[in-house]
C-alpha cells in the first residue's frame, strides 16, 4: 500500500560560524512533534535531500537515509463515540486523571554525523523526506498513516 510521504520545506543548517564561540555542535536531533499514534504501527524512514524516496529506496547513506523512528500504534478507536477524542486543553489542576492515551507524541532521530556530512557534500538548506512503512498486521494502514504537527532541527554545543 502506498502511504503518505512527507517532504519538508527547506531547513537552514547551522554552521560553526553561527556559534557564539565558533565551535561546532556536538549533537544534532531531528525532532518530530505531535506525532499521531492512534492508528496502526509503522516505521518512519527519514531521508536527507531525497524527495523521491519511497518504500523501495535502500536504507543506505548514499540514498540520504539517516535513520528511522517507530510508532507502536494504538490500532484505532475501539470505544464508543467520543472515547478517542483528545481534549483540546490539558487536565485542570484538580483533575488527576492521566493525559489522554492518544495524546500525540514526540519522536527524535539523532542526526549529528549526517548533518555534518550533509554540510560537506551538499550544503545549503536541508530537505527532509519521511517515508512511512506499515507493519503487516490485522489492521489495514490508512493512506494518511503519518501525521504530525512540526519538525525541528535542534543542535547542542
Amino acid at each position: 500500500m502506498s502511504l503518505n510521504h512527507y517532504i519538508s520545506d527547506p531547513i537552514p543548517v547551522p554552521t560553526p560560524d553561527d556559534a557564539e564561540d565558533g565551535t561546532d555542535f556536538s549533537r544534532a536531533d531531528l525532532e518530530f512533534y505531535g506525532v499521531d499514534h492512534s492508528g496502526s504501527s509503522f516505521e518512519a524512514r527519514v531521508f536527507f535531500d531525497n524527495p523521491d524516496a519511497d518504500e523501495t529506496t535502500p536504507r543506505q547513506e548514499d540514498s540520504g537515509y539517516v535513520g528511522s523512528f517507530y510508532i507502536f500504534g494504538h490500532g484505532g478507536c475501539f470505544g464508543d463515540i467520543g472515547h478517542c477524542d483528545i481534549p483540546a486543553e490539558p487536565n485542570g489542576p484538580f483533575d488527576r486523571r492521566p493525559p489522554h492515551p492518544l495524546t500525540p507524541q514526540k519522536r527524535t532521530v539523532v542526526v549529528t554525523e549526517a548533518i555534518k556530512q550533509f554540510r560537506e557534500t551538499a550544503g545549503g538548506d536541508l530537505t527532509v523526506t519521511v517515508v512511512p512503512v506499515a507493519s503487516e498486521s490485522p489492521i489495514d494502514a490508512e493512506d494518511e498513516l503519518f501525521s504530525f504537527e512540526r519538525l525541528a532541527l535542534i543542535t547542542y554545543d
Binding site: 504501527s41 507502536f72 490500532g75 507524541q105 527524535t108 539523532v110 507493519s135
Partner: protein, 270 residues
C-alpha cells in the same frame, strides 16, 4: 550484572535468563507454566494479564511517556507471579533481539517452533479471546484474529548491539526512556502481525520475552547510573491497575528478581 547491587532480601532471587540459553528443563517448565495459565478464565489466567495491555477495554498500557518503563516492569512482575503460581521457580526469559543469534535467525526457536514433542508449542501462538475479538472488530474490514500470529521482517533489520549501546549511553532517565521506547517500538514493528498492534500485542507469548529484554536493559542502565535521580512527584505516580508506584519498581531485587545470562544449580547438603 549483580555484583554492583546489594540484594534487599536474604531469600534467593529468581533469575530471568536469556531464552537462547535456557536449559531443556527450564524451557520445559516455562512451557508448562504457559499451558497452565492459558485456560484459566479468571484473574489468574493468561487472558486477564494479556488483556490489561490492550483489548478488552480499558487499555491500561503506558507508552509515549516516562511511565513506559515502570509500568511495564510492574506488568511483567505480576504476570511472572501468575506463571510461578502454576510452576514454582519459573521465570520470564528475555529475548536478546540485538544478539548475533537474533540477527542470524530472528525469533528464537523456543518461540518459533509450531510444535514441540508432538504438542502445540504454547510459546508460538495462543488464542485471542472472544471479547477482545468483538471489540477489535469495530474497526477491521476483515475478521479479527482468532489467534496470535507474527509477520517478522528480515533478521538483519532488528536493532543492533550498537543501537543498544547508544541507548545505554543516555545520560539521564528521560533520555534513556525515550531511546529505549524507540527500540521497543522498533521490535514490535519488526515482529509484525498481532504483536505489532497495541490491542493484541500482549497475547503473543513473545511479547513477554521482548519486554523482559527491555526491562533488563533498564536494569543495566540503572546499574551504570546509580546516581540518577528522579523527581519525587514522578516517583509517587501510581501505575494502574497495579497497586504500585514508580518508586516501587525501581529496585528489581526488591521485586525478587535479577537478570542473568544462564543459571545452573545442584543440590546442597540437605
Amino acid at each position: 550484572m549483580p555484583q554492583t547491587s546489594t540484594s534487599r532480601t536474604a531469600i534467593a532471587l529468581h533469575h530471568r535468563k536469556s531464552v537462547g540459553r535456557l536449559t531443556d528443563r527450564q524451557l520445559s517448565d516455562l512451557r508448562e507454566a504457559y499451558r497452565a495459565v492459558l485456560p484459566i478464565q479468571d484473574e489468574r489466567g493468561y487472558n486477564h494479564h494479556a488483556g490489561i495491555h490492550g483489548l478488552p477495554l480499558p487499555i491500561y498500557c503506558k507508552h509515549g511517556d516516562l511511565l513506559f518503563l515502570p509500568w511495564h516492569r510492574a506488568y511483567l512482575y505480576f504476570f511472572e507471579l501468575a506463571l510461578r503460581d502454576q510452576v514454582p521457580d519459573v521465570s520470564l526469559p528475555w529475548w536478546n533481539w540485538a544478539s548475533r543469534a537474533a540477527h542470524a535467525s530472528g525469533i528464537p526457536r523456543a518461540y518459533a517452533a509450531e510444535q514441540v514433542g508432538g504438542q502445540d508449542n504454547p510459546l508460538y501462538s495462543v488464542p485471542v479471546p472472544e471479547i477482545a475479538r468483538q471489540q477489535g472488530s469495530r474497526l477491521l474490514a476483515d475478521e479479527p484474529p482468532t489467534e496470535t500470529f507474527r509477520r517478522p521482517r528480515q533478521p538483519a533489520d532488528l536493532p543492533s548491539a550498537e543501537d543498544v549501546e547508544a541507548a545505554l549511553g543516555a545520560p539521564n532517565f528521560v533520555d534513556f526512556s525515550n531511546r529505549m521506547e524507540g527500540l521497543h517500538n522498533w521490535v514490535h514493528v519488526w515482529i509484525g502481525g498481532t504483536t505489532a498492534e497495541v490491542p493484541w500485542a500482549a497475547y503473543d507469548p513473545l511479547f513477554w520475552a521482548h519486554h523482559a529484554m527491555v526491562d533488563r536493559l533498564w536494569r543495566v542502565w540503572q546499574l551504570r547510573n546509580p546516581e540518577a535521580n528522579l523527581d519525587g512527584g514522578f516517583l509517587r505516580q501510581a501505575l494502574p491497575p497495579f497497586d504500585m508506584t514508580v518508586e516501587d519498581t525501581l529496585d528489581v531485587t526488591g521485586l525478587g528478581y535479577e537478570y542473568a545470562s544462564t543459571t545452573q544449580a545442584v543440590g546442597g547438603t540437605s
